[in-house]
Each structure stands twice: as C-alpha cells, then as structure tokens.
Symmetry: D2
Subunit: 315 residues, 4 copies
C-alpha cells in the first residue's frame, strides 16, 4: 500500500503490476480508497515483463517468489528478512527455517543506503533493513565508528506504533542480529553488548529509538564541549546525506510522518558520562517502502531523492 502511494508519484516509475491472492481481481483503489488514483488491477502473479520487483511477502515466501526474477537478472529489493543476514545459521536460528534461496545471500547487499550506497549501486539484489535496525544503526553508527563507546555496550529503547501488534519480545527480537551485524562491522569486533527493548505506544506511524551507551573516559571533552564534539562527529558522518539528518533538538515522530527522513539527535548526559542518541523515522516510509524506493533509485541510477521529496505531514 505504502509503496504504491510513493511510486504513483515517482517520475521514473510506472506501476506495472501489484500482486495479491485474497484481493485478486480488484483494483488497488477498491481495496484502499486513498489509492483510487492508482489504476492497477491486483493479480495473483506478475505476468508481463518488468524491470524491477519489490517483494513485501513474509520471510521464506519472499525469497522463493523472488528467485526466478533474480535468476533472470531483474533488479529487486526484498523488504522481508531473507537477504539481510549474512550468516545462514543466524537466519535459521532466528527464523526457524532453512533458507530457501541461499545461493544469493552472499551477494545480496544490506540495504541501509547511508552505509552501503556504493555496493547497492552495483547490486541487483538488496535486502531492505527492518524498521528498528534502520533507526538504531543510523543512530549509533557515527559513535561506533568514532570509537567513543565504552565496551560497545548499548541500550536501545524503542517506542513503536501500536498498529504492529507485535509480540513483546523480551527474550530477543529478530532484528537483534541485524543490528549486531551492521554495528559490529563498523566496530570491527564481535564485542557489542546490545540491549534491545520495544514499547508499544498509541501512535499511527513512527518509531522512536533512544540509545544509551557509556562513553570511554576522555573520549570527548567535559561539559558542553563534549556535546559539541559528539554533534560534530554525527554531522561529519552524515554530511551530504539527503535523508539522514542530524537535528539540534530531540525529534518527534510526527516530524517524519509520511516522509523518508531519519532525524537523529545526539547528546551527552553530563551527569553520567553517557552518550544518548535519539532517532525517529516513519516505519512505513524510511523503515520500509521509502527506504526500498531509495535503494531502487540508487540501483537504477535515478536521482536518489526521486519520488521521496515530500515534506512530513504535521500534525
């Protein structure tokens, strides 16, 4: 639904097909009245030749359905979890299934554009990150790369939308290994100790993550100068990025509602010498459909912001 909303206004894209079983035969606008301008019929399968495929199927099903397209050299972004993790044992451990299409796992690129833009541009297959990892990795990557975190210890505290009806995974969340994989790569070692906790709050769209991490002694100067130093690290890291934006005030989820921004506020708790980084994004846009379109833009050589320019709807 959200992909159709974005692609309908994309200057380089024509929606050739939308697949679905239970609603096959209807038009998109019959199922979702706000999409009545998208005059596309829902079909069980893609029958005509297409240049690009997005899959938002559940894991395993997604890789199975994508496989023939990948075989044929059609570019694809997979929004499921199938092409995110490099370690097939981790995949099986978290998703309780043998990977249905392991031959493409190694060459698939983890689709956080800000971290892997060059590889994405060369790739035919991108595994789009989960919405939590998108927020958490963007919030912590500058600090991890700068080496200012003590022991790699990070608490990730999420406030998420209530529409997910996601079980509260106190014993471990499937997005945990993605975050460890990506931040661990930046960190250059396996020693990250990440606590990951999600809270449902009554919002329609949006994720807010608050990250806590102890600073190494003397990693940054004391007092306000330390805050300035941390902000500089973040600003340098995201310099020129169109969608990862360092902001001077704690952000609200509403500031990203319907648009593709991830807004990040880093600071230091001076009393406790801890880094705090707060990040917000729209879980349906930057955390899913918008991030996928950003990747398509990079993969196809379009302007990276094409179709993604609209401002947030506030309030």
């Amino acid at each position: 639904m959200e992909l159709a909303r974005i692609l309908h206004r994309h200057p380089e894209v024509e929606i050739a097909a939308a697949t679905g079983r239970s609603q096959a035969g209807k038009r998109l606008g019959e199922v979702f009245p706000h999409l009545s301008a998208c005059d596309v019929e829902i079909t069980p399968d893609i029958v005509d030749s297409v240049d690009f495929v997005f899959s938002a199927l559940p894991h395993a099903a997604s890789a199975e359905r994508l496989e023939p397209f990948i075989d044929d050299g059609v570019k694809a972004v997979d929004i499921s979890a199938d092409f995110r993790l490099k370690d097939l044992d981790e995949y099986t451990g978290w998703y309780k299934i043998t990977h249905p299409c392991p031959q493409y796992v190694e060459t698939a690129v983890y689709g956080l554009t800000e971290l892997h833009r060059d590889e994405i541009a060369q790739s035919n297959l991108v595994g789009n990150p989960g919405c939590y990892p998108s927020a958490a990795i963007l919030a912590m990557a500058p600090a991890v790369e700068a080496g200012i975190i003590e022991g790699g210890s990070v608490d990730l505290n999420f406030s998420e939308v209530n529409e997910n009806f996601k079980a509260y995974n106190i014993d471990g969340h499937r997005h945990h290994p993605e975050i460890t994989q990506e931040l661990g790569d930046i960190n250059g070692g396996p020693d990250l100790k990440i606590t990951f906790l999600t809270h449902l709050v009554p919002m329609t769209r949006g994720i807010l993550v608050t990250c806590y991490a102890p600073l190494k002694p003397d990693a940054v100067p004391g007092g306000e100068d330390g805050r300035t130093a941390v902000r500089r690290i973040y600003n340098d890291y995201y310099d020129g990025e169109p969608f990862a934006k360092v902001v001077p005030q704690p952000p609200q989820t509403k500031h990203t509602s319907g648009n593709n921004d991830c807004v990040i506020f880093p600071t230091v708790d001076l009393r406790a010498d801890r880094l705090i980084a707060i990040a917000c994004l729209d879980n349906l846009v930057k955390g899913a459909a918008g991030g996928a379109v950003q990747n398509m833009n990079v993969m196809c050589g379009f302007d990276e912001t094409a179709g993604l320019e609209q401002l947030a709807l506030y309030p």
Copy 2:
C-alpha cells in the same frame, strides 16, 4: 504552516515571504522542524514585491492587511472570513465588527472552486470558504440544485478535529450564514432551514459531515432505484471535478488526510425517505490551505491540480 508545506512543492511557485510577529527573525524550519527544507525567514511585513498574497490572519485584521495589496492589483486569497459574506449586516451580526474594507466585498468571489470556477478565474480577490461550509455545501449542492429536498430542511451533523478547541456553538455557528448564502443561491429562495451542529472528536485532521434531509414525495423512485438516481445526480454534478469525488462507500476522514479531496457519499434511508449525504475533507487542506492553492491555480491560469496531486497518507 500548511500553505508552506504545499507551496514548497508547487512547480509554479516560489515562497517570497512568510510574515509573523512573535517568531520574526527565525526561519520557518526553526519554528516548524518538518518545514526545514523551506528556507524562508519570517518577517513582520512583506517588503519586496510579490505576485500573489495569501492571508490567514484573523477576520478584520486580514482585510486591513490585504487592502493595500488589493489596491495595487496584487491577486489575493483571503483565508479569513472577511470576504465570504455578501451581506455586510450579516457580517457585522456574526462577527461583531464593522467591515474594515467594505469596498471590495461585492467583487470578491466566494472561493468554493467547484461552484464558482469561472468567476474565480476572472477575479483578483477570493474569500476562501470555511472548512465546515466547504464540506457541507459540496455535500448538499447537487441535491439542492436537483430540487429533490422537501422544504429545504437540512440537518448538518459535523464530527470535527479536537485540535480546534472551538467553542461548541449550540446557539449558532459563524459558518451558518455562508452555508445558507451558498445553498440558498442554488435553491433560488430564502427558505432553507438548516440545523448545524458540531462535535469534537479526538482526531488530528479531518472533518466529516453527515447531512440529513427529507426527500420530496416521488422525487426519486422507491427502493434501490432511488439510491441509484441520487447517485446519478451527484455523479453528474461533479463530473470532471479533480477534487470533489463521489464515492461508493461511506468515507473516512483518513482517506483525505493531507490531500485536497472532498469525498462525498450520497444515499437514501429507505425506511424514512430521507437523503443522507456524508462528506469528508482534511480541514487543513481542502478546508483551508489546499482550497486556497486550488483557487490560486485557477486565478493564475495554472493547472488546477498543480502542487495538489499527492495521495492521502493512510493510515
């Protein structure tokens, strides 16, 4: 705020100035972080020459500030109530003030584009309708014009956003005379008896109006044929309109969130021989800033939908 959001993406418009007193000297994006892409400084006055002015000041203040621009032949849309009512005594009766700029009242055009498109195209000054009248007039105009309403008796039942904090006006709402003026014009007589009642509901954006009116005996056929006849009246009336859309199911406010549509569902209560028409719009878009931009487009000869094409953000 909402005008800036829309105009920022309008292909024919450059925002030359944004005025304000309490925030003068700041940039728009400092006050509204979601507008940080609009790099405009807030100033107390418009100093440079401009081609078009929107005013969203309170009534009376709005006409006063607009007067010199109108004198100079600058095109303008006034979002306040100052140029909506043709009868100056009605204006004074409802707004408790002598009109500060009466010489332009007669030539100003009531800015419901769907009803007054040709006059708007010829006009330099448009009084944009209130959000309630926009919904109510669009919901009832086809039935009033078709002459199928008994005694012109209409109950308007509004569910509105709670952000307005508007007093509950059981003794009469200031939007009442607008609705009477416009539907009375269509009706060709003064006999409309309109009950107008608003209810606050906890939504962020959106207005939903449910209109009830007794049908004249034999105005439409009995049973489902009557519903078909009513739907045909509405479809014919709004044929070709880009933003007034007759829909086959009762609409939800969310279906218009952030976009310029007014969606209208007409039907017949077969047990009671009553017309029911339900209409939704986004009070900040079609009910205010979007409707104003639609008028600007018509006044300036732009494509009527320029800058207003985006789909609703749902959910």
Copy 3:
C-alpha cells in the same frame, strides 16, 4: 470483563463462576491483569448452584445456555439480543435465525430500567438493551411521550467507539427495531420514521447520540422559552432517576467513562424549529454491564445504585 470489574466491588454479590471456553482453566487475572484481584477460575460451565446468571454470549447461543436456568427459576439478565424484541418475526428478520427459546420471549422484560422498573422488579428474566438503544431511547422518550414531535420523525446520529470494529450498516442496524419498539410504545402508534446512522470515532469507550426531530407547530413557545419548556419536560420525566441525568451543557463521553450515567442534553434549534437531544453513556457500563447490574439490583431488591456509585474517570 466489565461485569467482573463492577461485581467485584458490589456489596451484595459474590462472583461464583465465570465461564469461557478458550481460556478455561486460567484465573480471570491471568487473562485480564487489571482483574487480578478477582480470584475466580474460568470454567466451561457453571457447576455449582447460583442465585443469579448474567449471559453475554452471542444471540441464540445465549438463550440456549440460559434456558435451563430460567426453567429452574434462577433470575437472569441476558445481555444478548435474544430477549429484547417482542415480535418473533422481527427477531428472525434481523438475526436470520429461528428463536431457540421462544416460550420466554413474551414474559421477558425489556431491561431499560428507567422505562420498565416495576416490571423488572417482578421479573425473573430481563433482556438488557443494546448500547445504542439505551442512549437513543433515553434521549427521545420524554419528547415522544410529551407529544411534541412532528410526524414521529427522528434522525439518530451516533458517534461510537472504534473498538467495536462494527460494520457500518447503512442499510439498517439491528438495534433499529428495539428503538422503534420502545419509542413506538410510548408514542402509541406505528408511525415513527427513524433514521439511524453510526460513525466510528477513535475513542476507547463511549457513545454519543445526537437526535434531531422537527417540533410540532406551537408545541413549545418560541425563543428561549421553548428551550426552557423542553428542559422542563425532560427534567420532569427523569425526576429522581439515579442514572439518567439531564444536564445544562452538551455532554462529553468522557463525563461517563467507567460509570453508569446516561447524561442527556435537550435543546431547540430556534432557526429550524427542531428538537435536538444529545446523550452520552459508556457503552460498556450503562450500555451493557452496568445496566445489567442495575437490573439485577432491581430484580433482587437491592439498592438500585449498589456497586454502581463510582464517579467517571476524567480525563
């Protein structure tokens, strides 16, 4: 759930059993943590002897399960629709099933305490009204009895909670015949033409009904005196009632959250000579569990307000 919350604090009641299939074997507090103080195990059936039974099963299933208790002379309140309608054909027409227990339909009492208190006190079986009819009948009964409504024509406009996920019944709502039955009885004739329309709004609890009806010519004096006359009719009608309260301002659903009040605001639209009556209640309390407990109190000779005294939780 809501019955347990109320009965747990009722001075005359001990909860002897709570039945349920899918959760059988658990304690109430395991399923609903806010009820952990109610130390009752959920069982598939009532095994021990009880003095009183409430049923909140779906229609038809409810009457079937209640039948042996009624046979044994156990007093019962049925919260389903099974014992509300006197006309078995109406029941079958709306609910598409033959009544499973027709022998008790005639003697069952319609459980709107304010209208049928004396019969309820004498009865062993009460059919508790639906939440919409509770609000609508209490809002209109005084005006219908006073004979001030022209043609018995009434528009009922409901704003209801979104938790119901109830289909929007544009072609007729199952609560329609209850309202017609009860207001028709008061009216003394079959001529009521009732339009009944529901709107989902994002609230957690609560129903608000706005009723519109044309006044007979000269039924009440003109101007403010007419409003005073209407208020007097309502005050006289509900004089001494503990839970049906005529209020001097339009009510909010929050004013009844968690308590057993139905608050009613009657007035006259002076421009259109129409009666407007607005009523609010908590659909889970006065509209269901609380109304049922009120009936139990009357049936058992307890103080009518026992267990129902708590104030609304606001905000």
Copy 4:
C-alpha cells in the same frame, strides 16, 4: 480534581473545603461535570476548621499556604515539591528560589509509603513524591538494596502522558535529585549515576518507566535462574504491599488506569547481563492524588487501602 474523585468515595472522609481562585463561588460539579456528585463550593480560602489538608499548589506557594496549618498541628500532605528534598541547596538549585518554610523540611517525611511507612505514620507533614520518582524508585529499590547493580549506573527511560505538556528536559529534570536522594539512601553511598530521560506519548493517563542497569558479575546465576533470582528479590521486597505489585509479564499503563497500583516487572537481559525493570502507574493516582490518600490513611490510622480499592478501568 482527582483527589475529589477519590475522597468522595472514601469511607472515613468528608470533603470540607476545596480552594481555588479563578473558579471561586462555583460548585465543583459546575467546573468538572463528572464531579457533580461532590456538592462542594470552591472558596478562595479554608475558613472552617479542618482535620487534614492536601495541597496541590505550585512549589513555594504550597509551603507558604501550608505553613499556618502545620503550625497549628493540622496533618498535611503536600503534593508539590516543597517537602521532598532534604538538602535546601539542592532545592534552591533546581527550583531557583529560597525555600519559604525551611523549618519544617527536616522533619517532613518523603511520602513514598512503601519505603517510609513507619515514619509517615508518626508524621504530621508528608512531602508526596513526584510521579516519575514514584515509578523509578519502586522499580529500582529492590535491586539497589540487594546490591546487584554494577557501579550504581542506571538508565531511566520514561514514556509519559502528553497532557503534561512538560518541556523536554534534556539537561536535567527536577525529579532527578529526588530519585538520587532516595535510591542513594538505600545504596548507602553517593555513587549512583542515573540517566533520566522522558518521552511524551499520546496517552491520557499513565507513566511507564524502563530501567536499565548493568549487573555485577556473578550477582545472580546465569540464564533463566538469574531471572528467577531477580524476581525473588523483588517479590521479597514488596511482600504484603497492597499497591506495589510484582507482575510476571511486562505491564501496560492501561492496567493501572484510575487505580493506585504500581506494577513492576523485573527481568534480566541475558545477552548483555543487564537488569531491566519496567514499572507502570497512573500519574494522577499512585503518582499524585492516590499516593497522597494512601499517606493520609497511614497518617490517620485508617486502613491503608481505604478509598483506593477500585480496579483499573480497562481498556
């Protein structure tokens, strides 16, 4: 407002006076329709003799108005911040004012009943804790006393109601010194390093705090046994408490809506050897009016739960 709601149903209390300036002369029920059963007139001052005083005035104003009552030996609970902090310099540092009534600061008791019940029973003056400290201290006290926290380092992550419109205090929250004072007392040293962060979420009532703290090596066994050990520490600490309840699942704010419970869920993040404790309470009840009534009950020798027995309103 919330005190009146609770006290109206308290078996040992009669509301003798309710003071207020802007609404003086009105009755409580005129200002708050849900309190229409509380037939008390609002007056500028307390004129008749009273046995007990609650003050909910702003800090400084509160101590000033309470002083003559304390002088006269009238028992009092102060809901402002004036009698919470023992260190007058801390008070002045955070509240930017010289304490208006310093002679009573030392003998006033910090009103977290679960920690100071015996002193409260002997006291005439109790400083009721803030809503955040109530939640945070109850969540962490058992772990701090058990000495299982490494370095006394704690991250407190609050999700709070949006009705507060409280500024987001990234540089330090006024409730910080309370928490440090109380947990520091239990810890027996000054070394607690507490990070305290609040997030506004769109709820009507309720606070949820998530506390993160590194466990000392070998403080608890590994794996599930560690979770069991932590749970036992918490259960032992709150054994017999009527309102501080250790629960087996992560709690929701709705589970405490309108009642006086603080529900606490402790666990261990096994991947990161961190204690996580989540606590919820209703900020208007246990976090303010209800906690104050609990203290009054203890101070006056009433049953500690009198007037506070009602179950949460869910949903």
